[in-house]
Amino acid sequence: MAMTLAEKMLADRSSLARVHHGEIVETPVDLVMGNDITAPIAIREFEAAGATRVFDAERVALVMSHFVPAKDINSADQTQIMRRFAREQAIKHYYPEGTGGIEHTLLPERGIVVPGDIVIGADSHTCTYGGLGAFATGVGSTDLAYAMATGRTWFKVPESMRFTYYGKRRAYVTGKDLILHTIRLIGDDGALYRAMEFTGEVISDLPMEDRLTMSNMTIEAGGKVGICATDDLTLRYEEGRAQRPWRVYQADPGATYVEEYEIDVSQLEPQVAFPSLPSLTRGISDVGDVTIDQVFIGSCTNGRLSDLRTAAAILRGKKVHPETRLIVIPATQDVYKAALREGLIEVFVEAGASVSTSTCGPCLGGHMGVLGKGERCLSTSNRNYVGRMGDREAEVFLAGPAVAAATAVRGRITDPREFSPHEEAV
């Protein structure tokens, strides 16, 4: 019986010949991850249940990225729980502030997650690693505590949806635009409990960073996992990076999908999601005149080196609009270092941007750029829910880094093609 990518991975790792959607399987995990918001609760539960050692100190990642450097006394106290636990358990992949960055950018970048892995993380954007061909999904703190103790978790085998993208991408159309467009097509719960498989000639051609961006926003459509099958491009990315052997899975021909979409990208423009749902997405030509108080370039969705390069190419030699502020946060320490070496940070600072150490910061309304009443932000992150970045009467628009940079210069949502009228694919 032919199986989808998600079914293949779960069957193989649960030592079953085949699995059906709806079935519950217990599966060993290759890696479990917690952050500074979710791990402290998990650690307390782990200890309260009487567990003493993590199942494998090399397969637990503890990453501080949300409220660090500590935004207030309470968050400082929370991080102490994690710092102590990481020390006591000799956690190998422990990244306090200044050493790592945002978990979902960090773990693929350092080869801590690899293709074919089964990963759970106490953070909803754990699905990002699907871009490498991993089965990775977000859970809460209690599931993390259980998996830290046992090295196992349970999954309900999801139904799969297949998205095939074809055509030639136009200038400034990136993974972010593909996924926003997809969420607009299927809705904010269009993939609820399901696996999304991204495939087709556009995906084969899509740089790894863009694949990770697409998989990252699987959860904004309610999906459990969003997977791009591992291919040569993935394996090239893994060279010199992977810290463990990987496994390559392919969907079987003739596997059953609950829904299939064929998406022609050749007419797709850069996309913008309007407040306050990711599905409220439009092409940039339909945006109209929207002034913006704050632009944020960063997050686990679009805070990678390629995103900063795109933004810097537009901002070079220009100034941020006097009535707009720009915040740029490299997603990881390695992105930060590379951006320094390439002179990108200088471009941002010269343009009048606030640039900071790697943190989630404004993405979740935590710190470093919280919005006040009635303010409007254009953000390269993944969520624009009510109150996500601050006051409940603030508005958040989502877009890719090119739209963000163009918007910062003009002070209103701007089509980046105004800065370079060429229509060739990038």
């Binding site: 567990a51 209690t142 046992t150």
Partner: protein, 165 residues
């Protein structure tokens, strides 16, 4: 009798408990801000035991377990919805917040209705409107987690049996 606080589709974790309050895991402290971004009246007027009713995709967004904890901490014993976002659903089961999937109830119940859940009959009764709605049953595996008192109770048992390191 429990009153219903009725909301629409896509009630997300950022309105259930905004990220700025995620600096504690304490249910009472979190409960003080439950739904404040969605309906400030909820916090003023709710009574212990009131229930929350949502539409589709209740609890979408982040994996913060603080969301079901905040609901529990606000004195709400259960949430009824047409459908739940996956991580929220799993978290609720794990920490012992009752969650009932019932499209009929999500449609029939209106703000302020008096409702009663009867788990034995797998039904929700709307006393205001004299209606009865079916609850979609949980899978046996999930029922077992609920019955054993949440996932940590299962872990304790496994540790005692030497099944986990």
């Amino acid at each position: 009798m429990a009153r219903a606080w009725k909301y629409g589709d896509n009630v997300d974790t950022d309105v259930i408990i905004p990220a700025r309050y995620l600096v504690t895991g304490d249910p009472v402290a979190l409960g003080k801000h439950c739904l404040e971004n969605l309906d400030p009246e909820f916090l003023e007027k709710k009574s212990q035991g009131d229930v929350i009713v949502g539409g589709r995709n209740f609890g979408c967004g982040s994996s913060r377990e603080h969301a079901p904890i905040a609901i529990k901490g606000a004195g709400v014993p259960c949430v009824i919805a047409e459908s739940f976002a996956r991580i929220f659903f799993r978290n609720a089961i794990n920490i012992g917040l009752r969650v009932y999937e019932s499209p009929a109830a999500a449609k029939g119940i209106q703000m302020g209705d008096e409702v009663e859940v009867d788990e034995g009959q797998a039904a929700i009764f709307n006393r205001t409107r004299g209606e009865r709605y079916e609850i979609i049953p949980l899978s046996p595996f999930v029922q077992e987690i609920v019955a054993s008192g949440g996932l940590m109770a299962k872990l304790r048992k496994e540790l005692a049996e030497g099944a986990a390191p």
